[in-house]
């Protein structure tokens, strides 16, 4: 089970609202490579993972992704504070605002709501961990793209932290994939599914 810690993993203190930027950053909440999907992916994949080290990584990274989701929500929340109706219209925030006001709803930057079709849980450790490696690179790419449009240090600083985490997670999933592959024996030359096909 889980328990909540009343703190952010890394501080978020934004002074200047920027709803245009908030609409880009919210994609890391509800977009195809966002933190909500990441948490659901890793926490779903744990049950069919055959080795304790890989289960540990999926559990602990999946938990960290929930903390990252909270950081993204804090950034979006602070970027959309104290807006006037004119600012909402002028900065292109009215289409989100009309449905959600300044509440947090998981959507991609394009406005498409979060969808479980953005990830897989295959029951095959090699397929799952290979997806996880790609997922971390795709999230890193989104943070790189967000940083192209961010000139506010208060926003860029936590976004850079989150970008770094994607790189560390990529390393750790590489370790986990190596552990799974090291456990395949000579009879498993073609890498059958060690969670299902017992030989």
């Amino acid at each position: 089970m889980w328990s909540y810690e009343k703190k952010l993993q890394y501080p978020v203190n934004i002074k200047n609202p920027n709803p245009k930027l908030a609409k880009l950053i919210i994609t890391q909440f509800g977009g195809p490579d966002g933190e909500l999907g990441a948490a659901m992916r890793y926490l779903s994949q744990r049950y069919s993972m055959p080795y304790n080290e890989a289960i540990g990584i999926l559990t602990d990274v999946g938990t960290e992704e929930l903390a990252h989701m909270e950081m993204i929500c804090a950034i979006v929340h602070q970027l959309t504070k104290g807006l006037t109706e004119k600012e909402i219209l002028d900065q292109g925030f009215a289409d989100y605002f009309v449905d959600h006001t300044t509440g947090l709803y998981p959507v991609a930057a394009s406005g498409v709501p979060w969808n479980a079709n953005t990830f897989q849980s295959t029951g095959d450790p090699i397929a799952d961990l290979s997806e996880d490696l790609a997922a971390e690179q795709k999230a890193r790419k989104t943070y790189d793209n967000i940083l192209r449009f961010t000139d506010d240090y208060d926003v860029a600083d936590p976004i850079r932290f989150l970008r770094e985490r994607e790189i560390v997670h990529f390393q750790r999933f590489g370790d986990a994939l190596r552990i799974v592959q090291d456990n395949l024996d000579y009879k498993n030359f073609y890498a059958y599914n060690p969670s299902f096909d017992k030989r």
Binding site: M1, R46, Y47, N52, E53, I55, G56, T59, D60
Partner: protein, 85 residues
Amino acid sequence: MNDNRKETLMRKIQAYGFTAHECALYLDCHPNNKQALSRYSKAITEMNEAVAQYEGLYGPITVQAAGGQSWNWVKGAWPWQNKED
């Protein structure tokens, strides 16, 4: 390793933890209720004692309690695995 004592201790942790959680839910909306406040603190004390006992014998429940000569967080069964796993 799957002795009766381990299961009994875990049942205690679950019961005290659930009591504390129920009190917390109530206290969130009734923060001045003295009875709930003392019930919460009693349950937390009981839970912490049981957790300390359990972790000393069988390993960490939270990652904050993990450590050892070799990282004991990834040792032993995970909570969704039944005894046959």
